[in-house]
Symmetry: C2
């Protein structure tokens, strides 16, 4: 049905999801590529090309059905099913992720955290923090499909290898490490320092 | 000296900085585009093209001087000068950023936080948390050049407008909002939910 979805379009999918959700909340039932383009700061032809590439349907002169298009996008993004996350590392980054309500709301539930510091082996709100050395025993009952890497950089690659052996095939990586992984693993990096350095670059070259 | 630096190259600059730093720490003095490419998972010709575009110099048969090249990159990224950040919002995300030692180490010092909740107006380690309604008085003495948006999404755009009036021209945005801003403002977004949704997409399409 849908053709090849480029990386640039994949990167824009969450923005489509977000804007269409806002439109739903505003009670808007349908929208033209012109209007959607204005909201998303894209040209109408880019909007039509994007939506066509991932198999969304519009009607000449009527535009897109907001709810229908959003459901289509949620489906191709795998957001109509719930995901279970374990967070490796119960430091500040790990805790910020665990305690952020928004992810649960969007279907990403943190089911447990793991840390090597015994002082952290307790309940963090609704989320238990376990000994990382007992991860292999715990994972089968937790049934996670995503592991979040929020541990020191020096331990990241070895942890990814261990998680792979335990069957984890999706990793959300907060460590500043370019991980090496098998082709059947999905990895998305949140390199916070990189993003801050890019801001520094843009500041320096604002007036170029 | 340097030619046009594409957005793709700008996005890779932090990785160059990181890998060259690792090489320095390993005591490596010079490196060929071949070896650097293997580390960075780029082709040697891509490496040469990237470095050439931002004005780095290599010598045929000798490759690149590690320290010299890293200093050049740090300079064009504006990382040889220190930056002063204020964080708007002293919730979990704001605190995680404030307490992360790495940024300070890289020259990005958090000088203050602002929040509208009186219970948060106290010292957070070395960082004071002030009343957000008194921001206009406080900013001149704090001399920040970066504002970090870690407040509720609904307040983000108005806050950016206020910060602009107060002279802030660089924003690190953690809210899930596509901000509207003047051309002389540098904005980098860390849309955490977007990144998680992209992971979900990749998981669903791993076997396509």
């Amino acid at each position: 049905m849908s053709g090849y979805v480029s990386e640039a379009v994949i990167r824009r999918l969450p923005a489509y999801n977000r804007h269409l959700h806002e439109l739903e909340q505003e009670g808007v039932l349908q929208i033209s590529s012109q209007e959607l383009g204005e909201r998303m700061q894209l040209t109408p032809s880019q909007i039509r090309q994007d939506i066509n590439s991932f198999g969304g349907e519009g009607r000449q002169g009527f535009g897109y059905q907001v709810h229908e298009l959003r459901e289509h996008i949620r489906k191709i993004m795998g957001l109509t099913q719930r995901h279970r996350m374990v967070i490796i590392g119960a430091g500040r980054i790990g805790n910020a992720i665990a305690n952020y309500d928004g992810f649960d709301h969007e279907g990403f539930t943190t089911v447990a955290m793991f840390d090597n510091d015994p002082e952290k082996w307790k309940q963090n709100g609704k989320i238990p923090v376990y000994d990382v050395s007992r991860m292999a025993e715990r994972l089968p009952e937790l049934e996670p499909d995503i592991a979040v890497l929020a541990l020191p950089a020096s331990a990241a690659q070895e942890m990814l290898n261990r998680l792979y052996e335990m069957g984890i095939r999706a990793v959300w990586n907060f460590t500043p490490v370019d991980l090496q992984y098998a082709r059947d693993v999905a990895v998305v990096n949140v390199h916070m320092s990189d993003s801050l350095q890019i801001l520094s670059y843009l500041m320096k070259h604002q007036n170029d």
